[in-house]
Amino acid sequence: MTARILLAFSALSLVLGANTASAQDKTLTISVYGIAQDAYKAALYDPFEAKCGCKIVVESGTASERLAKLEVNAAAPTVDVIAFSDANALEAANKDLLAPIDTAKVPNLGEIYDFAKDPLGNGMGVGYTFYGTSIVYRSDLVKIDSWLDLFKPELAGQIALPNITGTQGPITLFMLQKAIGKEDPTFSDAIDLVAEHKDDVVTFYNSGSQLIQLLQQEEVVASVTGRFTWPSLMKLGMPVAWATPKEGQTGGMNVLSIVKGAKDPELAQQFIDYWLSAEVQQKLADGLVDSPVNTKVTLPDDKAEMLTYGADSAESINFLPPAQQLENRDAWLQNWNSKVAN
């Protein structure tokens, strides 16, 4: 009996030890969005592992969950490099969770668009992709020309909106406020509008793929999403269209940052540099995973069509500056929770 228990335990420690044993080699722990992990593995993780002779450990999840974890583990960081939205990154930087990036160690910074080089303005984040955000809709069933069209009576009970806790939620309110035509950084008119129609909203979704599922199962006929879901939406084989509302599109940028207290900042910078390289950015763009920020990437028209591509499209996007997001977020949340979420 005792012998058998000992045996079982050594087997157990072997399996559990698989993680700790490899920690003795060089490892880089990265925290990323959970989307398209197969594509990242092929285009980025595997080649980088081969290059650096190290092992990449991936933690994935939504940005807000990963940011919360970063804060909980601040004393003994479990992650070296984190990818999230510019607003998340600024919040993390303000909470003293990030380390500055040594630009000399990231030569590929020279090849990327100026607006992506230091989007936070504090040297703690570098943009690796950007996207436009607009309304997607079933072109066979409805027509959308304005952000306010989301609340047309014929769409009642058939729309989903992004949750305020994610990245897409606030920028949706930003555009609704713009469409209403009143300047107000607290978006109170937009929140009132959503509150008035909250029973018409099927759900407030948390991640892009949830939205894809909602459209695919015909739970909704229109919603708001970032361009990064577009390639998947095309695969549904449904007549889905990308709106060009008269108020314009919004969008966002995702950044890479080094976590304060990272075990090996050198390796982290090497990884960031590799991610920004024309080679990797080209592969990710070809796979329709991320819009490139590297100026050397060239895309054929059919692929450029699918992604947000080029300096011109970046110009046309209404970005909501991350500092402004942080400043007003508590007010949005408070207002949203009392009017919409209950």
């Binding site: 807000s64 969950e65 919360a68 804060e71 909980v72 009970g157 949750n163 806790t165 909203v201 099927v202 759900t203 407030f204 979704y205 948390n206 199962q217 015909e218 739970e219 949340l333 929770n337 009392s338 979420a341 209950n342």
Partner: protein
């Protein structure tokens, strides 16, 4: 009973210490957080928590769903338990195994299945529209109805199993005797069966009620952001806002409910035995 008390203590020590250090102390520290603000002991966290309409709504919804799920499971549970007992000992084993089976399957798998079934293009809606019961597909997913269906499936076995064993322990001839004496089925149930199986009902009711209050997977998948319950709210408060004060308040509420329900259960059961 053996005399050597020191040996007894020695045998108990590992389990007790383990649960104390690895479980009770961390949980108590967490719960204490519900009564702390800065460096003082206070109830402001509760006032803040219940000051938010969203939190009040979630609180009421969690209890409402818990009670409805318990009541519906009890009503159906009696019917099913009686049918199982009447089926005789031969089929009983197989029937009980079929009732136990769902308990053994991952709640994630169990809940996921309902996504496919309850959606607008799902099985239920396709069936309803094709037989002409409804014109337009019903909206079920992301409503309390969806969470209710998921919870019933999850916890029904916990109600029916204690009921089966109570019914089996009931003296065999009381029901036929009451029938012979002219009692209607209705009065047989309320005057004979219900009092004699109260213990099973209380055990099942506690398991289902506490289970529903503290369910996470079902409201997370089938309810989404519009049908938050206390557990999903707790997760959201922590994972999105690092709001540990609200999390601790929710934890106190859930544990208090769980302990109260269990005490009530013991009380009810012992009152019966005492008679």
């Amino acid at each position: 009973m053996f005399a050597n008390r020191r040996l007894g203590i020695l045998l108990l020590a590992p389990a007790t210490l383990f649960v104390l250090v690895g479980f009770i102390i961390p949980v108590l520290i967490l719960l204490a957080g519900a009564f702390r603000s800065g460096d003082t002991w206070t109830l402001t966290n509760y006032i803040d928590f219940f000051g938010q309409p969203l939190n009040r709504e979630v609180f009421v919804r969690t209890f409402r769903l818990g009670l409805i799920v318990t009541a519906v499971s009890a009503v159906i549970g009696y019917g099913v338990a009686m049918a199982v007992v009447e089926a005789g000992p031969k089929s009983k084993g197989r029937l009980v195994a079929m009732l136990v089976l769902p308990l053994m399957i991952s709640p994630v798998a169990r809940t996921y299945a309902w996504l496919v079934i309850l959606g607008r293009t799902g099985f239920v809606n396709v069936a309803l529209t094709s037989i002409g019961l409804t014109d337009a597909p019903l909206r079920i997913l992301f409503t309390e109805t969806a969470v209710f269906i998921g919870l019933i499936q999850l916890f029904f076995p916990l109600m029916v199993l204690p009921l089966i064993s109570s019914l089996e322990n009931m003296p065999r001839d009381v029901v036929p005797a009451a029938r012979v004496l002219g009692a209607s089925w209705f009065s047989v149930f309320f005057k004979v069966i219900l009092p004699l199986t109260r213990e099973g009902l209380v055990v099942g009711g506690t398991l289902v009620f506490v289970g529903s209050l503290t369910a996470y997977v079902t409201p997370a998948i089938l309810g989404g952001s519009k049908v938050l319950m206390l557990e999903t709210l707790l997760y959201q408060r922590v994972s999105v806002a690092n709001d540990f004060a609200s999390a601790a308040v929710i934890a106190v509420i859930l544990i208090a409910m769980s302990i109260l329900t269990n005490m009530l259960l013991k009380r009810l059961a012992s009152v019966r035995r005492g008679r």
